[in-house]
Amino acid sequence: MLTTLFFLRRTGFAAITLLIASVVIFGITQVLPGDPAELILGINAQEDTLAALREQMGLNAPVWQQYMHWIGGIITGDFGKSYTYSVPVSELIGARLWISLPLAIMSLLLSTAIAIPVGVLAASRHNKATDVSIMGATQLGIAIPNFWFAMLLVMIFAIKLRWVPAGGFAGWENGIFNGFKSLLLPAIALALPQASILARIMRSALLDVLAEDYMRTARAKGLPRSMVLWRHGVRNAFIPVLTIMGLQFSFLIAGTIIIENIFYLPGLGRLIFQAITQRDLIVLQGLVLLLVGLVIFINLLVDIAYSIVDPRIKGAFHE
């Protein structure tokens, strides 16, 4: 019962945030310099042609009407029609989501799969050579810009060794395997700094937990060190790690924007750039709103995940 209340309240906040975001995003796109109609018709276009096109695109209506029209459409699932591609925005985004989303998930899984064991290992060998070298390596991992790392990866694995394509997306319809192959290098490039940060957080969270009284209680029961570490340590340490993973999602999106450009993956990141350069405002609005919504949604998810990992969260709303 309390959980539902908690859930409803968080969802409500998220919805309001998203609504305000839609206003801000719409406002931002309105002040972007450049006229989409001019861009489509080029420099030799005549004024009457431009006017005809503007009318066709609905750019002549008052701003607030344009907003109401846009937001009203979104509520019913209609993101409008792209100025440049003349296809529904949802179709554009939908097609590209199937590249960006798997990429984000792949790199998230990859970074978690690397970070958790490495972090646990470092914490359990605290201050020993293993720990020190892991910390050094992660420090380096954080400092390497992902686009530079991506450049080096392309250099080695695509151009020199030709193991994987240098970029582009083979398309899921050509086999899931080929799709994954196209996403592998980008996912690795994205995962490296994430994994470094997560491993560090995992380690320090675990060290915090290791110093807790209940770890001593567990040891006093006679449980061996490793059993205490995994049974009592890791789950508790996961709470701060979860927070960071939620926050990192936002960085992950930022990362995909650059990485998709390097690997010329036709994902959401590239679509943003394209929409900006082509002044495809309606695509831009929908896309930014979607990404912001995604971040908000992920943070909501993290909050809910807390209450699963940590039974105290539900109780916390008593006080």
């Binding site: 972007l32 006229d35 861009l39 018709l41 066709q56 694995f157 060794l161 240098a166 592998l184 450009n261």
Partner: protein, 496 residues
């Protein structure tokens, strides 16, 4: 340590698993070409973007006439034509048995529809001006069309060969933006937005040309990505490769053929002639002296490009070489500036659109002008703001841009054009040129026009943009030059 080791080993193994290669090329009946820009839509009659033509012209859509790789006007859907003596009436004889990809017949009614649509009231055709001279279009019989002009126009046949004048069917015209239906040797298959357009051989094609079974245009805007795509064999060719610095690498690789062709792009530093101090001829001339064209070609284009001295393509027979008129001479530039009253130089802005010729060339020009005391602030702009601020509002000092329309010296005669150049002498020359039909006399007038522009130092004329193409050494029949923006695949085939 164990975990790390297995982790790394796992990653390497995963990479190795994918290692069997990407080499298995599309086979010999297909071709994949790279392009920098993606078309915004697929209707050549409704947008200016060169990318639309580069995908569709001559492949999916055809016009009455066409322009070939040498820039000559050839028959296309019109088998032949006659022109009345006064030059006002054109009669086209159409090919018989032509079908659109959707199976409908192509006939004179479609021509009337297409041309009226392009020049009509509600037209969104980007080159509406091309059809300004047309008075009326009539279908004489299903295979004959009569075109009546308001006044004689020497370039009408050439104009009808533009991508903006291709033939469309009334039933499918509205859907062409996303699902183009034309009469060409290739039919449209699908468009994965942001990635590629796929075409396939049309079995309804009227012509005799035997084309490849499948053609894919892949859009790669990032020069680095383009390079790795070519190197990795992801594309078979890149007719307009965006990074000239990579040409030497391709040249040294026997897998590739490198072709440096010519384009219609006169690359110039445009000057706002109306804005002080640029209204001063001496200042403009000083800038022309201060800029070393060769260093820009070497530095920005890695040696690809031909210096020009006026707004005219060097491969045109009427071209006269005026590059010596303002040979690089910083001392003279300084002297001229002093004469003009700018002994201590001045400050100005240089707005640069996205292409690398502009961005890189701009950096070099800024460095060179700094030496004579002109301090330029570089402002990078995207095409949207460039059109609005620079081109429309002429709110700029200097900019760099390549004018890619063929034979466009006439723009200097326009009343309102973003150079803000006003010369009655030049206008007179162009007016006479329009009245003249004898080619020798025309060439002479063109030479005169070039000279005037050079004398007035309207803009700083930098170089003719090269077409830096690279493709698989076994690929044949791609255009070497670019008289119009197109990737005509009609003659493309694989060796062996």
């Amino acid at each position: 340590m164990k975990i790390i080791k297995t982790g790394l080993a796992g990653a390497v193994a995963a990479l190795a698993m994918f290692a069997f290669s990407t080499q298995g090329m599309a086979g010999k009946d297909a071709v994949t070409l790279g392009m920098v820009l993606e078309p915004t839509h697929l209707d050549p009659t409704a947008g200016a973007a060169a990318a639309i033509d580069e995908v569709l012209y001559a492949n999916v859509f055809e016009g009455l006439t066409r322009i070939n790789s040498k820039g000559e006007v050839k028959p296309a859907l019109a088998e032949s034509w006659t022109v009345s003596d006064d030059g006002l009436v054109y009669t086209f004889k159409l090919h018989s048995g032509v079908k659109f990809h959707d199976g409908s017949d192509f006939n004179a009614d479609d021509v009337v529809f297409s041309l009226n649509r392009a020049r009509g009231e509600k037209s969104v055709n980007a080159q509406k001006a091309l059809f300004k001279a047309i008075d009326k279009v009539e279908a004489v019989d299903p295979l004959t069309v009569k075109l009546t002009l308001k006044s004689p126009n020497g370039s009408m046949l050439f104009n009808l060969g533009w991508g903006d004048a291709v033939m469309v069917a009334p039933e499918s015209a509205d859907g062409n933006k996303t699902k183009p239906v034309g009469t060409g040797p290739f039919k449209f298959v699908k468009w994965v937005k942001g990635d590629r357009v796929e075409l396939a051989r049309s079995d309804k094609y009227w012509g005799s040309a035997r084309v490849l079974g499948k053609a894919t245009f892949k859009f790669i805007s990032d020069p680095a990505a383009a390079f790795s795509a070519v190197m990795a064999g992801d594309v078979d060719g890149f007719p307009n490769f965006p990074a000239p610095e990579n040409m030497d690498q391709f040249r040294s690789d026997p897998r590739f053929k490198v072709v440096i062709g010519s384009t219609e792009g006169e690359t110039i530093m445009s000057i706002n002639n109306a804005k002080p101090p640029f209204d001063n001829l001496k200042v403009r001339r000083a800038m022309a002296y201060a800029i070393n064209r060769q260093s820009i070609i070497d530095g920005a284009m890695f040696g690809n490009g031909t210096p020009i001295g006026s707004h005219f393509a060097p491969h045109h027979p009427a071209y006269i070489d005026l590059t010596g008129q303002y040979a690089y001479d910083p001392a003279k530039a300084k002297a001229l500036l002093k004469e003009a009253g700018f002994a201590n130089g001045f400050k100005a802005t240089l707005k640069l659109p996205p292409p690398s010729y502009a961005r890189r060339g701009g950096e070099i020009i800024a460095a060179e002008l700094k030496k004579v005391g002109i301090d330029l602030k570089i402002i990078p702009v995207e095409w949207g703001p460039w059109i609005k601020d620079v081109f429309k509002a002429t709110n700029y000092d200097l900019t760099i841009v390549s004018h890619t329309e063929p034979m466009d010296i006439g723009i200097y005669a326009r009343d309102k054009y973003y150079f803000n150049y006003k010369s009655d002498a030049f206008k007179a020359v162009i007016a006479e040129l329009n009245r003249t039909s004898d080619s020798k006399a025309r060439y002479a007038l063109m030479g005169k026009a070039q000279k005037i522009l050079a004398d007035d130092a309207v803009n700083v004329f930098l170089f003719q943009l090269a077409k830096t193409g690279v493709w698989n050494a076994k690929l044949k029949g791609l255009w070497e030059n670019a008289p119009v923006q197109a990737n005509d695949l009609t003659g493309v085939s694989w060796a062996d």
